[in-house]
Symmetry: C2
Subunit: 432 residues, 2 copies
Amino acid sequence: MTLITSIDTADIRFPTSLSLDGSDAMNPDPDYSAAYVVVRTDAPDGHEGHAFAFTIGRGNDVQVGAIAALAPHLVGRDVEELLADMGAASDLLTRDSQLRWLGPEKGVMHMAIGAVVNALWDLKAKRAGLPLWQLLSRMTPDEIADLVDYRYLTDALTRDEALEILRAAEPGRREREAELLRLGYPAYTTTPGWLGYSDEKLARLCREAIRDGYPQIKLKVGADLDDDVRRLRVAREVCGPGYPIAIDANQRWDVGTAIDWIQALAPFDLAWVEEPTSPDDILGHAAIARAIAPIPVATGEHAHNRVMFKQFLQAHGLQVMQIDAARVGGVNENIAHLLLAAKFGVPVCPHAGGVGLCEAVQHLSMFDYVAVSATMEQRMIEYVDHLHEHFVTPTDVRNGRYHPPTAPGAGTEMTAATLAEYLTDRDPVVAS
Amino acid sequence: MTLITSIDTADIRFPTSLSLDGSDAMNPDPDYSAAYVVVRTDAPDGHEGHAFAFTIGRGNDVQVGAIAALAPHLVGRDVEELLADMGAASDLLTRDSQLRWLGPEKGVMHMAIGAVVNALWDLKAKRAGLPLWQLLSRMTPDEIADLVDYRYLTDALTRDEALEILRAAEPGRREREAELLRLGYPAYTTTPGWLGYSDEKLARLCREAIRDGYPQIKLKVGADLDDDVRRLRVAREVCGPGYPIAIDANQRWDVGTAIDWIQALAPFDLAWVEEPTSPDDILGHAAIARAIAPIPVATGEHAHNRVMFKQFLQAHGLQVMQIDAARVGGVNENIAHLLLAAKFGVPVCPHAGGVGLCEAVQHLSMFDYVAVSATMEQRMIEYVDHLHEHFVTPTDVRNGRYHPPTAPGAGTEMTAATLAEYLTDRDPVVAS
């Protein structure tokens, strides 16, 4: 019998605030950080599961502590049994009634669960010798449907409806997998658009984005309307008419302000407006969407669980759904999000950037293409060219497309050099 | 100049799971716990600010860690300046952009902010020589309006509208304060209704509740329909027709199940149905409320911030609003909730129980009566007779009413004996 022997954690922080990379209207000086987890076993194969929750600096230690609090649920468990039923593995953590009180299913504790669930998927994929997107894409519709917790979803999505979606996408799986490997998955770039950059840097990065084949760029907005008008004018002039430019307000506005501000920017032809207000404000997003139509509202990177996404879809609060690999309860809950999006016919364009979010979330979009929505129409993954060098399998983004990872695992393992610098050596947490 | 010298924390846990006190359909074995904080100053008066976040056991250490992460914001600050503008003090913590990423405004980090904000209020009230409810009730409408963060609220409540509500309640403040001191504030009891109790114990506790003058009891439901029918029959027989009996499902159901289950229990004449489904599911609560009308839906103990309450009110997802003293960003955010409820004309019946929640939340209802809604109609505070002996100013509940505390402070300080047992002696956290 193979057992989980330890859950190790690390508090990894990069001083990104020094360069203003990642600066936006709500987050002027983020230090991109990872609350990192390693799941180790006594299997002779030596495989480890690696993953993380992404934070922007202060509080990363709290996030690490929350991950460590989950160790007693896992250490000493039979690895085969645990990984054979990943739905049950996820429930084991999500349904701990005492820990659930700390959310429920939101914030620090839920992100910790997401990190651990993702580490288990990394381990499972390595043991299977497959990248996560291929591992998921080759599961049967029934196996995939069993990964999802339908609690609180059944008024919008039942297991039977999920199964119907997955079965409808079964034909052509092999062809889509081959196409992905040949052509990759569309990417858009946020690199030009950080608020801290000068107009010259913005213009240069816009030119580079087009030269590099990106089908869309995104600009941060929301701190100052005059600045936004000026920066959008620069971007539109460089990019030319018709080229898709999205904007992202990072939750800066109230509902009324959002509507006025967006209408002032609308002449620059907006591909979408992202996070116009509080990520909790489903009805507010719906009101904004009605007022600014046909400009689509995009949101979701801070939507904390499937119940929120369900309501955003029910209320028409979003027209572009932005899942995040490290905000929610992990791969399982994100599969629920992909199924909800498919049910409601809304495109998923994941949030990425940060630390390792690109590496992680590409697996979900690629799985979605092969086995869930079966389309790349109107879909693309955000790309930011920061911090990829810290990962064992960094993204391979060329010609404006993510080219699928082929290395086994979930893409969430940092390099030995980075970990050597940061991984705290501590005694393995032992089950009580 | 008086400075904050340290933020001390304690991980305090009571083994309530041994007695099944507090057992419900979602939380079968809670160990009622407090992530406790003490704010100390170098003032010669020796006053300290005490407060806590309430948890139900595992993870209390994570919650304590989150409180400790806030210390650098406070240690070394000028006490007079900080306490003179409690709106700014609350913003200081809530608007830390890096910590905000861990929510935003939800879960472990937001509850930590709530604990620290409440400890500052406890300190402020002690320095003023007043119980918190009186301190708040004697502030001017402008001063009260300045305590609230209107970000994300202005489509439902502006500062001007808040001011209008507060000014309308200014006449009669003195009379209502006197009436409160004379008569107290209505309480209802959940003591009879825990799921772990036998029918005999349930019947006995129902008789005692009526004997003790409570105008309403509440029963936990949702684990098993046959059991619920049997237990409601016992309670209804003991209490007699017309006596208000509420039920509480603690988030156990999906929307469809909730509607069916409640309709099966409706013949027992339900005063309200509490937490029928996920606390995030605003639209689900609204669908349930429409289906079971005229039975009111009550919720809010897990509503994580003012944006959620705003939407519950906008969507008619609740007819009874249940604020919680330790779930959100503290007294300031709860004042936003009281103002929202007043704006929408919905009664507030706070959640309490746990550890010290009764002691804390009574101040908010009493303040609401004197200075906000100016009425006790359809309003009452939950009461559970657990763990009050650990508090310096335990609740004084007699004849089914909370009698107002007169001791200075927010009611959130534990006794020296309890703290001596639990308070970890650690070096004061020093500002970096």
